[in-house]
């Protein structure tokens, strides 16, 4: 699934505004670069849930889904679609 560009833009703003993390680009590696730490990861999960009204399935979570803003956008879009279909 290719996420909507507006969603990626929203997420970039969320990183900058809510998490105070300057992400260079939507395909920047957030994990290997150290931009996201274990603390900010937990914060990110909670902020995404609150902002988009989704429940991130921790039981079935692949951290690779959080590797870039683009992948996070795809995850959010998928979870939002699942919620709408439910």
């Amino acid at each position: 699934m290719i996420p909507h560009p507006d969603l990626e833009t929203s997420l970039m703003a969320l990183f900058e505004g809510e998490l105070s993390i300057d992400v260079p680009a939507t395909d920047s590696d957030l994990l290997d670069s150290g931009l996201v730490s274990s603390v900010t990861f937990v914060e990110l999960v909670m902020v995404l849930e609150e902002r988009f009204g989704i429940q991130i399935p921790l039981d079935d979570l692949e951290l690779d889904q959080f590797r870039t803003v683009r992948r996070i956008a795809a995850l959010v879009e998928e979870l939002t679609a699942q919620r709408a279909a439910a």
């Binding site: 730490s37 603390v39 937990v42 921790l58």
Partner: protein, 329 residues
């Protein structure tokens, strides 16, 4: 509902979430005790810290260590603090400060009590093979993690759960419990549950990785898998460091360790039994585990590239690993 005057002692995601929720509530935040950012950024990595968020909200900030100072109690009384909320701040709060707020102090503890007092409760729960875990909000007493419980949320531990996921769950479930304490105190303080914690079964855990991280291949496969997951913070540094094993005389970090399909084998524990698909299957004391890759000299290598059938993984001969991985204080 009578809005309360709240003092927050917080760090990490739990402290941030608590701060944000209270800042958006009718309650008044008298101040925030938190570790200031260093030149390198927020404590624990990049991103906004509790201290930074408090400053951005225009709230008074205080050094986190003030909770150790008996003289701080008088300042809290002058400020009319109704309740002190502690979310992942690790300073030991002195008795005078605990008793200064009208309703006392409450702590978010990422584990069930009395069995998982102290530090790194999610990791210790995994090491001990627990099948459920909990987050507890309790009134703070002079003895660490010993005051009566107000609210608890319990959840199952899945077979592949890592320490990072348990930590995330305790934060997600725990912050609303702290907020529930505030709401209950504001509505009707007499309704707040006060459930004493029994002395029996109390264990206070320390930040000390069991076995120095060395995997005991003589343990059952389920225990080996749980031991590895207790150190697993995904791509992030674990407070316990890494697990370790010797592979061909070289120290290696096994990654993605799962319980294998075979039952008991005659092979000595630590023996590589098979290379199948993208993983190696290793004999344990009872059953097997699969290992997908190993970190050697900082490089991630597929297990299928660096292990051969018949290789033996183990710990240094000089290391005496206790027969059980049970965590103790």
């Amino acid at each position: 509902m009578t809005p309360l005057t709240v003092l927050i002692a917080g760090e990490e995601a739990a402290g941030l979430q608590l701060l944000r929720a209270l800042a958006a509530s009718p309650h008044r935040i008298a101040g925030v005790l938190a570790t200031p950012d260093t030149a390198a950024g927020a404590p624990g990595g990049q991103g906004r810290s509790v201290h930074g968020a408090a400053v951005a909200l225009g709230l008074p900030t205080l050094p986190a260590v003030r909770v150790r100072d008996p003289a701080f109690a008088a300042e809290m009384r002058v400020a009319g603090v109704d309740v002190l909320l502690n979310a992942h701040s690790l300073h030991i709060v002195c008795p005078e400060v605990l008793e200064a707020p009208r309703f006392g102090a409450f702590n978010l503890h990422p584990g069930p009590l009395p069995g998982y007092a102290g530090l790194d409760a999610p990791s210790w729960a995994l090491v001990n093979g627990e099948t459920t875990h909990a987050v507890t909000v309790h009134r703070m007493a002079a003895e660490v993690d010993a005051g009566p419980v107000a609210y608890t949320a319990t959840f199952p531990i899945g077979p592949d759960d890592t320490a990072l996921l348990l930590y995330t769950r305790t934060t997600r479930l725990g912050v609303p419990l702290l907020l529930k304490v505030v709401e209950t105190l504001a509505d009707d303080p007499d309704r707040l549950p006060v459930v004493p914690i029994p002395r029996q079964g109390r264990r206070v855990h320390r930040r000390r990785s069991p076995n120095g991280g060395w995997i005991d291949w003589h343990a059952p496969a389920a225990a080996v898998s749980a031991f590895v997951r207790a150190f697993d913070f995904g791509p992030f540094p674990s407070p316990w460091g890494t697990v370790r094993t010797l592979a061909g005389g070289v120290e290696a970090v096994p990654l993605r360790v799962r319980i294998g399909g075979r039952g008991s084998t005659a092979a000595p524990p630590g023996t590589v039994l098979a290379i199948a698909g993208d993983a190696a299957e290793i004999a344990c004391g009872d059953g097997t585990v699969t290992v997908a890759s190993l970190l050697i000299d900082g490089r991630r290598r597929p297990a299928t590239d660096c292990l051969r059938v018949g290789d033996r993984l183990g710990a240094p001969p000089s290391l005496a690993i206790p027969p059980l991985l049970k965590a103790t204080a």
